[in-house]
């Protein structure tokens, strides 16, 4: 109990700014997980988002190498990550649109090649670089600058989701009909992939590359069981993401365990619980 209260003391204490930053990161990233996660879930592109989130390790590895060897001094890993994220989104998106039968192979290839490039460059980077720190992230290392970026992306995503909601809903529900209605469905798809790619880069700082994909799907999947429409799914998903983030942060602090992993384990347990509940309900109603 004392550890539990200790978390709240740390949250409001000026001596622990990283705990407060972690809390705000949880709040801000929940919006992205909620809104984008719902779109990713209903458009059934979680596999694509998974490949993009893992491919960014290639960009991180190259940036670290270029920076540490002095070829491009002070190059932030985020720059390489964003370049790789957008590049992989473009390749996967194009293949998905032009050659559906090759989509699966290309997704797996981008996933594996991106990660391997990252590991190779990190191995040749002077000094010690641990790839797992990028794979699993550390929310307690979030800076104020990261928070500003997260906030800016939140605003952009909310505005785009509000303005283009009818088109997002229509293309996700029935792409062929949307095309007939004159919606540029391919452009909508590529823009969603690109925004997801940029969000993945920022969010991987919070829960890490491996777990971004889980948080993009689990809160949305949990909210999807009771949601009446896509906007309700987005709101519900944001609230679930907030709940999971906060619960992960507190339990990680209390039990002295990695926060990112705790967030996903809690989210996964909730999702499985609701899935079982939904199945039981369906069987009873038959």
């Amino acid at each position: 109990m004392s550890e539990f209260m200790g978390f709240f003391d740390a949250l409001f204490s000026p001596d622990f700014p990283f705990v407060r930053n972690a809390f705000f990161a949880g709040v801000l990233s929940s919006v992205l997980f909620g809104v984008l996660g719902s779109v990713v879930t209903v458009k059934r592109i979680a596999g694509l988002a998974g490949a993009i989130s893992h491919a960014v390790l290639g960009g991180i590895g190259i940036s670290l190498y270029l920076s540490a060897t002095g070829m491009v001094p002070n190059l932030s890993p985020m720059v390489g990550a964003i370049v790789f994220a957008l590049l992989s989104a473009l390749i996967i998106g194009t293949v998905s649109l032009k050659s559906k039968q090759r989509e699966d192979t290309v997704i797996q290839a981008i996933w594996a090649i991106g990660m391997s490039i990252g590991v190779l460059f990190m191995a040749k980077t002077p000094g010690y670089t641990d790839p797992s720190s990028y794979l699993f992230g550390n929310i307690l290392l979030i800076s104020t600058q990261d928070l500003v970026l997260l906030f800016a992306l939140d605003v952009v995503v909310i505005l785009l989701a509000w303005y283009f909601y009818p088109q997002i809903e229509a293309t996700s529900f029935d792409e062929e009909f949307s095309q007939v209605r004159g919606i540029p469905t391919r452009l909508v798809f590529l823009v969603i992939l690109a925004i997801t790619a940029v969000a993945v880069v920022l969010l991987q700082t919070f829960v890490g590359i491996v777990m971004v994909i889980a948080m993009l799907t689990l809160p949305a999947g949990t909210a999807g069981f009771g949601a009446k429409n896509l906007v309700a799914m987005m709101v519900g998903s944001t609230l679930f993401a907030l709940l999971f983030s906060f619960a992960g942060l507190v339990s990680g602090w209390v039990l002295d365990l990695p926060v990112g992993a705790m967030v996903v384990v809690i989210a996964g347990a909730f999702f499985l619980g609701r899935s079982v509940g939904h199945l039981i309900k369906m069987r009873r109603s038959r």
């Binding site: 529900f173 029935d174 062929e176 007939v180 004159g182 919606i183 540029p184 949601a227 009446k228 429409n229």
Partner: protein, 257 residues
Amino acid sequence: MNVPIVLHFHDVSFSYPHLMVLEEVGFHVHEGEFIALVGPNGSGKTTLLKLILGLEQPKSGSIELLGQNPSKARVQIGYVPQHASYDPSFPISVLEVVRMGMVEARGRQPKEKLRQLALEALHQVELASLADRPYSDLSGGQRRRVLVARALASKPNMLILDEPAANMDKESEQRLYETLAKLKGKTTVLIVTHDMKRVSALTDRVFCIDAHKEGKVGRTVVQHMLEEEPDDGVKRILHDVEIPADQCRYPQEAGNE
């Protein structure tokens, strides 16, 4: 009688890489006509539909839809797809599906106006009482009628239905055709179906996509005679009586190209 042509295929051919699908297809449809386009599975019906909607471009020849290129005119079409890849876990209400029928390329429209128009369209298919129900709660037949309402919501000049009665029970099919009967003469209706034997009694003309012109690989569209007297709400297709594809009730229009 001056009845405009709303759909005109001029000697259209289409092929996918290494596969010639359609060759020398020529036919036309007048405003207000009720047309059936029939063909066995794999004959090229879906391709023809995509050409009409401007989702594919002909290899040669040209298509006019409402006097324009199909890719420009298709927004004026009420399209009822098969929607075979429907995801039952998609959270959406019946009203929201119908409202989608008025979605534009970008931006939002006044919510209340859309609601009213969507409710009107649901009244037309006699499903207004289900407006707030989740779409996934409906039976297959009801869902198809909701898609008809979605197509009607934008008050289209022409309605195109892809296999509307597929997997439908008899009662739903009957209700669907009751709705279409109310539209007959006011809205041009084109139904695509794989039933080669009979079509709805509402049908004015039937086009079959199951023949090859001599020396050609791709299929073409031919017009067949329909039984004069309907039997139990359907007309038999008389496959042994072929009539020229451009022959219609309005000969002066047909020649007016």
